[in-house]
Amino acid sequence: MSAEVESDALHARVRALIDAFEQGRPMPEAYDDVSRDVVRFQGEHVPGYARLCAARGVDPGAVTAAAGAPAVPVDAFRVSRVFAFEERLARFAFRTSGTTTGARGTHFMRDAATYDAAALAFGRAMLARDLASPPVLVLGPSEPEARDSSLGHMNALFARAFGPPPAGPAHFVVNGALAVESLRASVESLPAPAIVLATSFALVHLLDAIGHARLALPPGSRVMQTGGFKGRSREVSAEDLREGVARAFGIDERDVVGEYGMTELSSQFWEATAVDPAARRGVYVEPPWARVVPVDPETLDPVADGQVGIARIEDLANVDSAFAIVTQDRVRRLAGGFELLGRAPGAPARGCSIALDEMLAAAQAGR
């Protein structure tokens, strides 16, 4: 069987999991069963992964459960090729933000259908489960303006799937500037609950631009907030931003929903506050086809429940790249999901040899 055929079959199995989730059916296959075959496939067709497995003394063909799969450091996306197909077949190239050392991480895909299905299924469940066809307003650039951004791709996907606003554009960042008046006009024309998709820094810019004024959304509307500030706006605490956004849009704070995603992934994680009255703010939940496991940063073994570790993220939808990645984000498992605790605080380094963090000051993974 060729790699492409094998990949297509794996994509179909993952999409069957996603379909089952959307339709409220039991999962047709166990997570470990699919992960076993994805890991074997990547061991055979991603040369770097085969090398990593060898260095860790793991035979990818002998991995029987997800937990046994070595995780790929996200840096690998910056300095190597993380894909299981011929380069000429790549149709999408999502890139991380620029870094002071020049290289940007790139997640190549030959087919975004599984990415799209995963994003839509879980995004709809966490953000718009009870909304019929909510118009989508994006506080970000349009897809053509941000062609290599996975977040731009996801936002455009949501806008296409859920529906555009009844009047005016769907995107409100044009040539890098927030189009506040255009947004105001669109908001005022909304007849029904809407979805606003935004980065944290775009929301800060909006709050700074409108001051104490309000852009009241119809009742039942939701706002997705994602990402950090990346030096592109003043920094605001999560609580203050949530409160400010809720006030500005005239919605409940529980309807300001956090999303956590990365360029290197095909799935996203969401706060469940909008759809689950028991859900806690700051706790992100996973779809059934992805898992976040806090691991010890030195041994990469899972830490005990409730302990803080760095995030090992497993994503079955990453069929053609890396099923498991390891990030520098600190996380802790809590009932119902995981808590994001930001980057590991590095101790001040000894000596005057430049620290990687200092060199990669702008290397916070972007989407």
Partner: protein
């Protein structure tokens, strides 16, 4: 202060250095505790302490120092022998010098000042930058530290920042791989690679096979060094970065790893995965020296020192401000001015606005 007096002050300072070096056993344990180096690592570090300089070098140092009414030296993150040169520069510039040692690594600065018995040099425990009214501030440390000092310094006070950096090795096609690896290992081991002169990236002219041969040879030489000079303890963050980098390199190319070091071979034409300090070296092939500039472009502004088997050939493609020396000599630059000759946005010397 006359020119002759400044030269004489530097010579007296070097006498203090020799005195401290002779009595180094008294402070070696304290240096090991504060630096994280093993006892053998401290002894090796002391071998890098400047104890002498030629007339020409001292003249160059005095000229590089300029003149100042007062100089306030703020020492922070650096290798443990760095106070020698830092205070020499300050003393060459002024007859009124205060030194605030690094709170984490104060041992050598205090020992040198005590040995010098120079009334022009005084240790201070605290240094309120905003209270300094005149003269110069020489600040050593991370860019963030330097930026903070610049922001707090009063108008009219000159701030000279000496930031962090790294070393680069260039191995030309003509080099004997084993000899070049021996030289590079001798540059990597001192201070467990935590100095701004310490090489962390080695570009090997030739094909991937030659780069791999060099990486393997370097691995062997570092293992031999580790028997004589074991690596000291790494901080938790350094250990995490080491794990991350080794796995990244295992994915991207190949890793030769041992308990006290690792050598990674990058893929041809791929971005450089700069390793963390702690005896980690990235080796990558370049087809020709003409490709060096492009290969290092993203990190060129951090390069403080270049070591090579062919100073003339490789020097022409080194970043302009970097010190270029023979492999094996990167940690022993002449005492002719600041170690770091860069004038970049990360460590510019500037006059505060008046």
């Amino acid at each position: 202060m006359t020119y002759g007096a400044r030269v004489a002050a530097v010579r007296r300072w070097l006498e203090a250095a020799r005195s401290v070096h002779r009595d180094r056993a008294r402070i070696a344990e304290a240096v090991a505790a504060s630096s994280g180096l093993t006892a053998e690592g401290v002894e090796l570090g002391f071998s890098c302490l400047e104890q002498d300089a030629s007339d020409e070098e001292i003249v160059a140092l005095v000229e590089a120092a300029g003149e100042a009414e007062r100089v306030h030296v703020i020492l922070s993150a650096n290798v443990f022998v760095a106070p020698l040169r830092a205070i020499a520069l300050a003393r060459a510039a002024s007859s009124r010098v205060t030194v605030r040692p690094s709170p984490r690594d104060p041992v050598l600065a205090r020992a040198l000042v005590a040995a010098a018995c120079d009334p022009a040099i005084a240790i201070v425990e605290e240094q309120d930058v905003a209270a300094i009214a005149t003269g110069e501030i020489h600040v050593y440390g991370r860019d963030a530290t330097i930026t903070t000092v610049r922001e707090r310094a009063r108008a009219g006070v000159t701030v000279r920042g000496h930031g962090a950096g790294l070393g680069l090795a260039i191995v030309t096609r003509a080099a004997d791989v084993g000899a070049a690896a021996e030289g590079l290992a001798a540059d990597v081991v001192p201070f467990d690679q935590r100095g701004c002169l310490s090489p962390r990236v080695a570009l090997v002219e030739g094909d991937a096979a030659r780069a791999a041969a060099f990486a393997g040879a370097l691995h062997e030489r570092l293992a031999t060094w580790a028997e004589r000079v074991p690596r000291g303890r790494l901080d938790a963050e350094e250990r995490r970065e080491a794990v991350r980098w080794r796995d990244t390199m295992a994915f991207a190319g190949r890793v030769w790893a041992a308990e006290d070091h690792a050598v990674g071979l990058g893929g041809a034409g791929e971005a450089l995965a700069v390793p963390p300090a702690g005896r980690h070296v990235l080796v990558a092939a370049v087809k020709a020296l003409a490709e060096v500039s492009d290969a290092i472009a993203p990190i060129a502004r951090f390069v403080v020192a270049v070591g090579t088997d062919d100073v003339r050939a490789a020097g022409s493609c080194a970043p302009a401000p970097a010190r270029v020396s023979a492999l094996g000599r990167m940690q022993r630059p002449p005492l002719d001015g600041p170690v770091d000759r860069r004038s970049t946005p990360s460590s510019p010397d500037r006059e505060s606005p008046t």
